[in-house]
């Protein structure tokens, strides 16, 4: 099975046997009825992976084994688990140069506070794993759990049980314990509890149990779980002006870091819109009229998460069925037909007011088995609330500002929230009891030492610039010439008749800033057209010929124009294009900075090089990979690949493909890499000695698939490139959304860690103690946060032939964060990743097909 297929199965691997006795999926359109799970007792709620363990273990040897190295059992468990960490990935063992140490040494040491907490266990702490069988065999998991939990023999043990596997923190006297109990009907059931394994606290299995324990604890603090995070709706931050409430909460996880078991908590907010889907639809109809209502409505709603009022569930909108009305009937589980109206009245005492609303369709992913069809649920728009921010809402500047003001916590505010959480846990009787029975001790907040790597110089054409602040050097290089660019002689401006008056001013501005940066801008041919998309397109089609270097469009609005023009000029007729909103050109007083930005973008699109940093390695190719879901068909994924073309790392080659798959694992890397190597050869008449690939967009739990499926693709294209000495490859997984945060404490206040801070100890992946998870990784802070708290980027080197010292790898990564030409400053990820992101975003949002290869060595997607 390919890595990709395996990933698809992740979290769904269940035994078919577990299905027996489950309710059937008789009706395709049953709204969730009050099914057993609605009444479920959280005592038994394991994360997905735990359930997956049940049947596997039945076949496994009943003898006790210690530890879990090489155990197939653990591997299987690991594969089905979906959580923050990718367990069981051990890449560092193969990397000889970092076997002893993965820490660097350059830079100035800095003491950092973190959001990590020590979780102490007694020295000899062990987790005891038992296997439980029932005679007679009971199919119902709930019944099995109930019988075991109610048994007096186990009542004072801390336990976690999924119906088959039982974890205890204290060993039972006997290896095999026979328990007898009675069901409510008076039937005697014999439970046999057999010790199968004794797990040290370093075992990945323990991590799962710890996470379950914390889940319970947070529920005890009256927090609600939404997705993976926990929120407190009883203390909302309300922004009534925008119909929003923000629920404060935390993303938490327990993991092994270098030598310790740590609890990580980061503040998180859930955005709730105080607006039902029906109200949203009605408003949308008011706004845009009816002609393209259905299409727009689907575009904006599909993929959003909704919350229903009558139960505690969230659903994803997968489709909207306009043909079904609340007065239609569906089949209940017992086979009877009922209308939605009656159903909601009977079941929840809810009267639907609008009998013409369509229904929202949500696919429930089966948690039981991967070969069952997903269940379809119909939801009433009137009863669903929108969560999160997406679509049109995000273009409401005022709203976004209001949200940002609430959400953006200063480092100090963040630390205070964490302190309160810890305090709450320690004050709550039940929470404390839970921790104590498991033998866990909640320790102090951790601080560690990081390093601030030296700042970089920006190399311009005839000037080396040491910026005042690496966050933004636009002022520092204002008078400097860019490295190289061809002059722009033959180009077009397409604009509407209305925009005519702004063009002259803009053009002269553009020519002025262009000449000061060394970019000669000639006079364009100006084409005036009517204010509609068709007219714009027609004008472009008529006037663009082979000699045209660039087309600039002054757009009256963003709607449609951008997508249509980009689509045409990126694939049908490959010419670099620059779109500008006429509104932007009307902003008096900002004309110079706007013109500068546009001039820089235009020169990039023509193949220009803006600036460089010193790259000590000769013959190094860097590449970035990112993925993005297509805007229209959520089944399509756009995979983008951007690789540098010269040793100075100022020119870029790009490829992009749309692939039909439900995972984010790239299928086409071999083609991309081979293409990039050929192009490199064309430019440099040799192959690169070293290749470093930064892979972004790897989801939780996909790490293993990337290692097993993507790295071999890259390796084989390198091996088959035809070079005499095979290029050496490194692959680094880049993750922007990691939980740890780092702060500096100064004068009794807490601040963001400085730019260039590297953390490669203590908060990184575990060391020798946990051989299964030994990885080579580091955190780097390469972007500035003026307000709020900066989020470090996590780099995990999963493959490394280059043998660069950790120090060099870290500094090279930092250098690459300087090279994104759309921003005169540092960014949070290496430039190739950001380019790949830009490319995939453009294709996913506007073009929806592969861009023309003729543009491949230009930054046309900026």
């Amino acid at each position: 099975m390919s890595g990709r297929a395996r990933v698809r199965a992740r979290g769904m691997a269940r035994s078919p046997g577990a299905l027996a006795g489950e309710c059937t999926q008789a009706s395709p359109s049953v709204p969730r009825m009050l099914m057993p799970s609605d009444l479920s007792d959280s005592e038994a709620s394991f994360s997905g992976g735990m359930e997956g363990t049940s049947r596997i273990s039945q076949n496994c040897d009943k003898s006790v084994s210690s530890g879990d190295v090489g155990s197939t059992f653990v591997e299987k468990v690991v594969k089905v688990r979906r959580d923050y960490v990718d367990l069981g990935v051990c890449t560092r063992a193969k990397l000889a140069h970092v076997r002893d140490s993965k820490t660097g040494s350059s830079g100035i040491p800095v003491k950092l506070a973190t959001n990590l907490f020590n979780l102490d266990l007694p020295q000899d702490w062990q987790l005891y794993q038992y296997h439980v069988t029932y005679i007679p065999d009971l199919a119902s998991r709930r019944l099995r759990i109930a019988l075991l939990y109610n048994h007096s023999r186990l009542s004072d043990h801390a336990k976690a049980f999924d119906g088959t596997i039982l974890f205890l923190s204290q060993k039972l006297e006997e290896k095999v314990t026979e328990l007898s109990t009675e069901t409510q009907r008076g039937e005697t059931v014999k439970m046999t509890v057999t010790l199968t394994r004794e797990l040290p606290s370093s075992s990945p299995m323990c991590i799962q149990v710890f996470n379950i324990i914390f889940k319970k604890i947070l529920k005890k603090l009256s927090m609600y779980q939404i997705g993976r995070n926990f929120y407190k709706p009883s203390e909302p931050v309300e922004i009534p002006q925008h119909k929003l409430s923000l629920w404060p909460g935390f993303a938490v996880s327990v993991s092994h870091f270098e030598r310790k078991l740590l609890f990580v908590a980061d503040v998180s907010y859930k955005v709730l819109r105080n607006e039902t889907v029906l109200e949203f639809m009605t408003d949308l109809c008011y706004k845009i009229g009816t002609s393209c209502f259905i299409q727009t409505c689907e575009q904006q709603l599909i993929g959003l998460i909704v919350l229903t009022r009558y139960n505690n569930k969230t659903y994803r909108i997968d489709d909207i069925d306009w043909s079904v009305k609340p007065t239609c009937t569906f089949q209940r589980r017992d086979g009877s037909e009922i209308t939605y109206v009656d159903y909601y009245k009977q079941q929840y005492n809810i009267t639907l007011s609008d009998l013409n609303q369509p229904v929202l369709v949500s696919l429930l992913k089966s948690r039981r088995n991967d070969n069952t069809e997903p269940k379809i649920v119909h939801l009433m728009p009137e009863l669903c609330f929108l969560t999160g921010l997406a679509g049109q809402v995000t273009s409401d500047f005022q709203l976004m500002k209001a949200v940002a003001e609430e959400i953006r916590l200063s480092p100090l505010g963040r630390q205070q929230r964490l302190a309160r959480l810890v305090d709450d846990i320690q004050r709550n009787k039940d929470a404390r009891f839970e921790l104590e029975t498991w033998g866990l001790h909640f320790g102090s907040q951790m601080s560690l030492t990081g390093r601030v790597v030296p700042s970089e110089k920006i190399l311009m054409q005839d000037h080396v610039c040491q910026p005042m602040s690496a966050a933004d050097w636009s002022k520092d290089i204002r008078t400097c010439k860019i490295l190289s660019v061809q002059s722009l002689n033959k180009w077009l401006i397409v604009c509407s008749n209305r925009a005519e008056n702004v063009i002259d001013g803009f053009l002269s501005c553009l020519r002025r800033v262009g000449s000061s940066m060394g970019f000669n801008v000639g006079y364009p041919k100006i084409i005036k057209v009517q204010e509609n998309v068709a007219a714009f397109l027609r004008a472009i089609q008529q006037h663009v010929d082979l000699d045209v270097q660039l087309v600039m469009c002054i757009l009256p609005s963003n709607q449609n124009y951008y997508d249509c023009i980009k689509k045409y000029l990126s694939s049908d007729c490959p010419v670099p294009s620059q779109c500008v909103l006429s509104r932007t050109l009307n902003k008096q007083g900002m004309m110079m900075s706007i013109a500068t930005k546009i001039a820089l973008q235009m020169s990039c699109k023509l193949g220009g090089e803006l600036w460089a940093v010193e790259i000590p390695l000769k013959s190094l190719m860097v590449a970035g990979i990112d993925v993005c879901k297509d805007k229209f068909s959520k089944q399509m994924v756009v995979v983008g690949f951007v690789a540098s073309l010269n040793p100075r790392i100022t020119r870029w080659f790009s490829r992009c493909i749309l692939q039909r798959t439900t995972t984010d694992i790239a299928d086409c890397l071999k083609v991309f890499m081979t293409g990039a190597l050929k192009e490199w050869y064309k430019h440099n008449h040799d192959f690169p000695a070293r290749i470093i690939v930064y892979r972004d967009g790897v989801g939780d739990g996909q790490l293993k698939a990337v290692i097993e499926y993507e790295v071999p693709q890259l390796l084989s294209s390198v091996a088959e490139s035809g070079s005499k000495i095979s290029s050496r490859l490194s692959v680094i997984v880049v993750r922007k959304k990691c939980l740890p945060r780092f702060f500096t404490e100064m004068d009794r206040t807490v601040q963001n860690a400085p730019l260039g801070t590297v953390v490669d100890s203590e908060a990184t992946r575990p060391e020798w103690q946990v051989p299964l998870e030994n990885q080579y990784d580091f955190y780097l802070i390469s972007q500035a946060a003026y307000r709020g708290t900066v989020r470090p980027t996590h780099y995990n080197v999963i493959y490394d032939d280059n043998g660069l010292k950790p120090d060099h790898m870290q500094r090279l990564t930092f250098k690459l964060c300087h090279l994104y030409y759309n921003w005169q400053g540092l960014i949070s990820i290496p430039a190739p990743c950001q380019y790949a992101h830009k490319l995939t975003y453009l294709v996913a949002q506007s073009i929806h097909k592969e861009p023309n290869l003729e543009l491949a060595s230009y930054l046309y997607y900026l």
């Binding site: 409510q184 009534p240 009022r309 449609n560």
Partner: protein
């Protein structure tokens, strides 16, 4: 519910249902759907009976004795008229583990109830007297009495009917005449001390009713299969009303506080009776309505500009869901209120107009209260009589004209 389902119910079905986990409530031979339905019937029955007389009933207090896994309480909390829900059980651990099921749903924070609701679970026995349960509108004892031994059964009416003396009592218990239809026939639950036939139950019920001045009606849930109608319902139910002539409550000597039950869990629901919640709801509704009116106004302007001069038709398309469905009375109320108006680039909607819309009309506020609640979140006109917004926003969607 077919008979087949009932008789063939096996461990699976039972196991699916959490009541198997405990012992206080024993519909155990009955499929879970069925139990849910019967509990639903009971609550529905109660509410309709009760509301039949007084539609505007508020602040009702309901207790479920022997609440076990709290399913009935979960069903009852959906009724807006209930403001206090109490569960009592002797199994403290069960109350503790089930408490969180009664906490408000996430959606209930987004769209709060109109009236406050407090849910409390007490650990205690039904034969003990606790004054906090006095004066309730309804007390339910679902599948409870058959778990009482003869001593407790004898004391039960004295406490529930005599001391607590609620306006209405619902008592359900298995009908033993139905038992032969089950594959295994003994008692339905190992903890049952007895199971009565209809005669036995009704005799007991009538005696109790007479003694404490209640009237009683009998019903049941779980219809027998065709051909076996004579056995009656699977579960028999007695519904007791306190006679109006009877003692309205316990006598004075018993009035002093007697707190023997231990509160295990308690939760208050967000509701519009709370100022913070009301304010949020009001501001959101006002802004929603103002936004709609603004967009409507813009549309009208666009249509006029186009020269047709006609008032735009209401959107009448495929999604005919659109627009609020007003009753004639509501329409009249809206028509009779001051109209929105424009001054320069500002758009004004009078507060009175806003209050005419049903969704604002239902909120417990008058114009004065509304003004003070809106004051710091919404921009009002200088005399405070209308909401003021910009007529055009930069992010407005301007449809393309092809």
């Amino acid at each position: 519910m077919t008979f087949k389902r009932v008789t063939e119910s096996n461990m699976d079905d039972v196991g699916c249902f959490s009541s198997e986990m405990g012992r206080t409530r024993g519909f155990c031979l009955v499929a879970p759907d069925f139990l849910i339905q019967s509990l639903r019937d009971i609550s529905e029955f109660f509410v309709s009976r009760r509301l039949g007389d007084k539609m505007e009933e508020k602040n009702m207090q309901v207790a479920d004795l022997g609440c076990g896994d709290t399913e009935l309480l979960r069903l009852l909390k959906i009724y807006p008229c209930i403001q206090l829900l109490v569960g009592v059980d002797i199994d403290e651990e069960k109350l503790q583990s089930n408490g969180h099921h009664l906490s408000p749903f996430l959606g209930e924070f987004v769209k709060p109830r109109d009236l406050d609701l407090t849910v409390t679970l007490y650990h205690g026995s039904v034969v003990e007297r606790d004054s906090r349960l006095l004066g309730f509108d309804l007390i339910t004892c679902i599948e409870l009495i058959e778990h009482l031994d003869s001593d407790h059964l004898a004391r039960f009416p004295e406490v529930v009917f005599g001391y607590l003396s609620p306006a209405m009592i619902v008592i359900s218990t298995p009908n033993s005449e139905f038992n032969p239809l089950f594959p295994i026939v003994t008692l339905r639950d190992a903890d049952h001390k007895f199971e009565w036939n209809r005669m036995e139950f009704q005799t007991w019920a009538l005696q109790v009713a007479n003694r404490y001045n209640y009237s009683v009606e009998f019903t049941g849930v779980g219809k027998p299969p065709a051909g076996a109608e004579h056995v009656g319902f699977c579960t028999q139910i007695g519904v007791f009303w306190r006679n109006s002539g009877g003692a309205p409550g316990p006598c004075v000597s018993q009035q002093h506080d007697q707190h023997v039950y231990k509160a295990v869990y308690t939760v208050s629901y967000p509701s519009l009776q709370q100022e913070r919640v009301l304010k949020f709801e009001l501001v959101s509704e006002v802004l929603l309505q103002v936004e709609r009116l603004r967009l409507w106004h813009l549309r009208t302007l666009r249509e006029q500009k186009r020269g047709a001069g006609t008032v735009p038709k209401e959107p009448s398309v495929a999604p005919s869901l659109m627009l609020d469905l007003f009753t004639e009375a509501e329409k009249a109320r809206i028509e009779n209120s001051p109209k929105p108006f424009c001054e320069g680039s500002r758009f004004f909607v009078p507060l009175q107009r806003l209050l005419a819309y049903p969704r604002l009309h239902r909120l417990p506020v008058d114009e004065e209260r509304m003004r003070s609640l809106l004051a710091d979140s919404v921009c009002l006109s200088s005399d405070g009589s209308a909401v003021k917004v910009d007529l055009r926003n930069t992010w407005d969607w301007e449809p393309d004209d092809y």
